[in-house]
Symmetry: C2
Subunit: 239 residues, 2 copies
DNA sequence: GAGTGGTCTAGACCACGCA
DNA sequence: GCGTGGTCTAGACCACTCT
């Protein structure tokens, strides 16, 4: 579980460390983190750097800050945190999660019409396309269709994606990091294919998310269309 | 349209100014804002302060920053940005919006069971309850139920809410600011009341959001249950 | 009053995009 | 090479919470 390289900025390293400690239960709901001044002293950093790390944790919902009191660990969401998706680093290691490939990655033209506006470069390059089902506690919760521009991704289609995060592979193999994104959300009736994949009856309401991810590569975006069964677990988000 | 008071921090004033200029079309999609150093010179501020303002704009999706290029104004979402709700200030002035009160504010006990865990203080106080429909372009899009703890809110139930934001009143009358929050999202079948309010047929899929807002008052949260018709317009969010 | 987070200054060096 | 944003230091003062 050693981190890839130590070229991360200081605030990022502190962020990763505190985040891991919260996820590992070193700090649990309601605990107060060391104060900013203590963190400065411990890690030999200055307050703006420490605050940057804490601000990131606040944005991702791990802690809340209260003036005069301290940084308090927030309760972890019970649902599935797909709306925030921790745009920054390693995706949150959801428990009891596995995925099943429905359509292995293939190179093809973009669907027409496409859910987001594409640049000429994207259109000319075509996309790597794949379909997956993701399970939580052995129930199919997500059916997602992914579109990745076919630009400078050697041997991408021959890689294995079973039980590995798509974003993990992009990060580790191609140094592509997700920096943020936008999404459209609708409630729709499951049509036959969706109903079958998600084990619901046709016409059952499901969540439909259309997402566009920003990356650290200029002009390089990743697109996903996700159908989500919210019967048992709600989808969870912050704002 | 003068701002209430000038006691805002510097980064906040710069943020409000740039935000207003973007919304007013002074800068439009693709435009590059003045560089950080230019903003420093113009407003007599230092870079961390300017960067704080820009970071806030990034978090709310108004701009994207690109190293070596600048801060670029992002396209404004076409849908309804309820997932982010601009936790910080004046809610985004949606065009062609009006609301209709279904149940005027009344004091009552909390619904049982409640969608979020309540503290003893909250339970003992009861809540101010109200129901509203919100229209966009004359179509009923949101039906929302609001619960506000009945703690130190003199004359709240006698106020008029027509065409005024609930949060505006809380901010201006009681100095209560929304600082963030969390939400659960599901796709459900509209039951009869919902279907009638949102002008859809019973069983039609609608979005159901259960929200808990943090405020600047310690231990004071606001709760909403929102049903949303996503037939015409998608709900829009960032991450 | 002591400690906490919130705001702010005045510098510095680095990495990236572009001409 | 220049200007951009990204990171970082070393201080300062204020507002808030708790005791």
């Amino acid at each position: 579980m050693t981190l890839t390289l130590h070229k991360l900025p200081h605030y990022r390293k502190l962020y990763e460390m505190l985040r891991k400690q919260i996820l590992d239960g070193v700090y649990t709901e309601g605990d107060i983190l060391p104060s900013e001044n203590e963190l400065c002293a411990i890690h030999k950093l200055t307050r703006p750097t420490v605050r940057h790390a804490l601000d990131t944790l606040v944005n991702e919902g791990f802690i809340r800050k209260h003036q005069g009191k301290g940084s308090i660990v927030h309760k972890l969401p019970k649902g599935i945190g797909i709306l925030s998706i921790a745009g920054t680093t390693t995706a949150l290691g959801e428990r009891n999660q596995r995925s099943e490939i429905i359509v292995r990655p293939i190179v093809k033209a973009w669907d027409e019409p496409f859910m987001f506006k594409l640049s000429d470069t994207e259109i000319d390059s075509g996309c790597v396309y794949m379909e997956r089902i993701r399970f939580f506690n052995d129930s199919p919760i997500f059916y997602d269709i992914n579109y990745i521009p076919n630009i400078n991704l050697p041997r991408f289609t021959s890689r294995s994606f079973e039980n590995r995060s798509l974003f993990d592979i992009l990060r580790k193999t191609y140094q592509i990091e997700i920096k943020g994104g936008e999404q459209k959300i609708r409630a729709i009736e499951a049509f036959d294919a969706i109903a079958s994949y998600l084990s619901v009856k046709p016409g059952h309401p499901v969540l439909h998310l259309e997402r566009k991810f920003d990356t650290n590569r200029q002009g390089f975006y990743i697109y996903s269309s996700i159908y989500c069964n919210t019967e048992e677990q709600a989808v969870y988000g912050l704002f």
